[in-house]
């Protein structure tokens, strides 16, 4: 297990290093003077000279990359051109909002999805099974931002059941503001997870350890809930880990639609004001988040199911 974990995180680290390098080269490959682009046409020559020195743009490219990595190790992603604050601080200020949103979305959709999937697998070809299947196929397809816009239109503007903008104050206020965006992001996951759990549950139910458990006279409910479900939810763990990228992407849109603070709003605002250090910092941090969550999903998988450790 330790060997597997080391190898898996080694790979994650390698991917991150390559990704950061690609990112770095992309910024440098943009035609034109990066300082001019960052500061805009109205910047004074002194300001331009200072930023050139700060970003070490007068050095050869490999040295720039080394300096960039050196700063990154110390958690330094550069300075926001406008406010003069550290990019790391600004990004981490917004990150919790996005993480709560993602957590809320996946929590309700995974719970409902697993329950529906397990029920459907335990009672195949019943009405609930059919309804679940129909819902899965229809909702899997709905892009989160379209769902967000339509639910904003229906539940916030027309019915006025939920607030339309902001993140809210206090626990209940926050929860109230979380409902619609979390609904929009999670909707397509419910069907997806239900389908996944149903398929893997049906497969697991045919395996010999379930037969053995039944042969020992263990109650059917316990067989399903404990012995089968434990293995059957494995794909869900992987899918959520790998799906972190989609969740982040959906969160960007949900934050814009519901005017919530968060990483997505930060990036979009920074793009419109051409604040490149913040855009790049946010992209880097979200990429890191994604890589780590994929690796973690693999580890949890290996921990729950020892067979996965030797599979690769």
């Amino acid at each position: 297990m330790l060997l597997y974990a080391t190898r898996r995180f080694g790979l994650a680290l390698l991917i991150l290093i390559v990704a950061v390098t690609v990112m770095f080269l992309m910024i440098r490959a943009v035609p034109g003077d990066p300082v001019q682009i960052m500061l805009g046409p109205r910047a004074t020559p002194e300001l331009q000279a200072r930023l050139t020195a700060e970003l070490a743009l007068d050095q050869p490219i490999w040295k720039q990359l080394l300096i960039f990595y050196g700063n990154l190790m110390q958690g330094d992603l550069g300075i926001d051109v406008f406010s003069g604050r550290s990019v790391t601080a600004i990004v981490f200020e917004q990150l919790p909002h996005t993480l709560w949103l993602i957590l809320g979305s996946i929590a309700w959709s995974a719970t409902l999805g697993i329950a529906l999937g397990a029920y459907a697998a335990a009672h195949p070809n019943t009405l609930i099974d059919r309804i679940t299947a129909a819902i899965s196929v229809s909702f899997v397809a709905a892009p989160a931002f379209v769902v967000a816009l339509l639910s904003l239109l229906i539940f916030a503007v027309n019915l006025q059941w939920f607030p339309a903008i902001g993140a809210g104050e206090g626990f209940w206020g926050r929860l109230d503001h979380l409902v619609l965006p979390a609904f929009a992001i999670g909707l397509s996951w419910v069907g997806y997870i239900a389908r996944l759990v149903r398929a893997s549950m049906l497969e697991v139910m045919g395996e010999s350890h379930i037969r053995t458990a039944r042969a020992f006279g263990i109650h059917e409910r316990r067989v399903v809930m404990v012995y089968a479900l434990r293995i059957a939810i494995l794909p869900v763990v992987t899918v959520i880990g790998v799906g972190m990228g989609f969740l982040l992407s959906s969160a960007v849109f949900a934050e814009i639609v519901f005017a919530r603070p968060g990483l997505g709003k930060l990036v979009i605002d920074s793009i419109t004001t051409r604040n490149y250090p913040i855009v790049m910092g946010s992209v880097l941090i979200s990429t890191g988040l994604f890589v780590v969550s994929t690796a973690l999903a693999d580890l949890i998988n290996a921990w729950l199911d020892p067979r996965a450790r030797t599979a690769k």
Partner: protein
């Protein structure tokens, strides 16, 4: 040739016999038809303004009402389908071609090249798509080409990985060994014997990928970072609709429904195609 035509016929019949597949065929067919003949279908000029009639609800003249500049929403929806396919088709086919080539090289070539290409795929996949798209847009500016490029770059790994797995499986099959023992060149083995066996699977993936691409284009345009105004895109409609959501619901409905319909149609079609072409694939995804 005659053989492949009957095969194609069988696939189409197979898809049409499945109710969801038939629905997918009809929806996709309608969208493609509207996109091709958009110029003749639209009752009004999709970019023609008429301030006098702005923000109207649905009527017989304006089926989906008008926007803040008096442009006919229905016409913009139809023309938007054209833009969606203009982005989706080249992006998906480009990604498929590049992914196929790289994947086959990874599966057939030496081990170090395989590792290198896999690292390349994993790296691209490590960027959350929308974040990557935003970074690229921030750097090179929004345009139709940017969207196509981003979509292509981010979906190469999916095709590459599947093509690689297929190549690895085929590599040791008897007919390939036989070809090799007869002295066939690598290009011949890959191009003539492996390619036809891999393309089918990738085509299914492509059909299922198109909705993601359409949604991404619409999403970027919704953020104002995709195609530029006044080009009618579904995302642009949603953007206008969002800012006017308290005045009129019809722009959000007009922009949102076609995206959902297109996604549904392509997903149904893709799933049904998958079951017909390769039932085994069901488990892989």
């Amino acid at each position: 040739m005659a053989k492949s035509r009957t095969e194609l016929g069988q696939i189409v019949t197979g898809v049409a016999r499945d109710p969801l597949g038939l629905m997918g065929l009809i929806i996709v067919g309608t969208i493609v038809f509207c996109a091709i003949f958009a110029y003749w279908i639209v009752p009004f000029d999709p970019v023609g303004m008429n301030i006098k009639d702005r923000l109207q609800g649905p009527s017989w003249t304006h089926l989906l009402g008008t926007d803040q500049l008096g442009r006919d929403t229905f016409s913009r929806v139809i023309a938007g389908g054209q833009v969606a396919l203009q982005v989706a088709l080249p992006a998906v086919f480009g990604a498929m071609a590049i992914g196929l080539t790289l994947g086959m090289i990874a599966g057939y070539g030496p081990k170090w090249l395989d590792n290198l290409l896999m690292l390349f795929f994993d790296t691209i996949r490590s960027f959350p798509t929308v974040m990557f798209a935003l970074a690229v847009v921030a750097l090179v500016g929004p345009s139709l080409q940017t969207v196509v490029f981003v979509v292509m770059a981010t979906s190469i790994p999916t095709y590459g990985r599947v093509a690689r797995t297929q190549t690895l499986t085929l590599r040791n099959s008897e007919f390939i060994l036989a070809e090799r023992s007869m002295g066939a060149s690598m290009t011949r083995i890959l191009g003539v014997h492996m390619l036809p066996n891999i393309v089918g699977v990738l085509a299914v993936l492509a059909a299922m990928d198109i909705p993601t691409v359409i949604a991404l284009e619409a999403g970027l345009s919704f953020l104002g970072l995709g195609v530029k105004p006044p080009t009618p895109s579904w995302g642009a409609l949603l953007k206008d609709g969002y800012s006017l959501i308290r005045q009129t619901p019809w722009l959000v409905v007009g922009g949102g429904l076609p995206i959902i319909l297109a996604t549904l149609g392509f997903t149904f079609l893709g799933e049904s195609l998958r079951d017909v072409v390769d039932p085994k694939l069901r488990k892989q995804r």
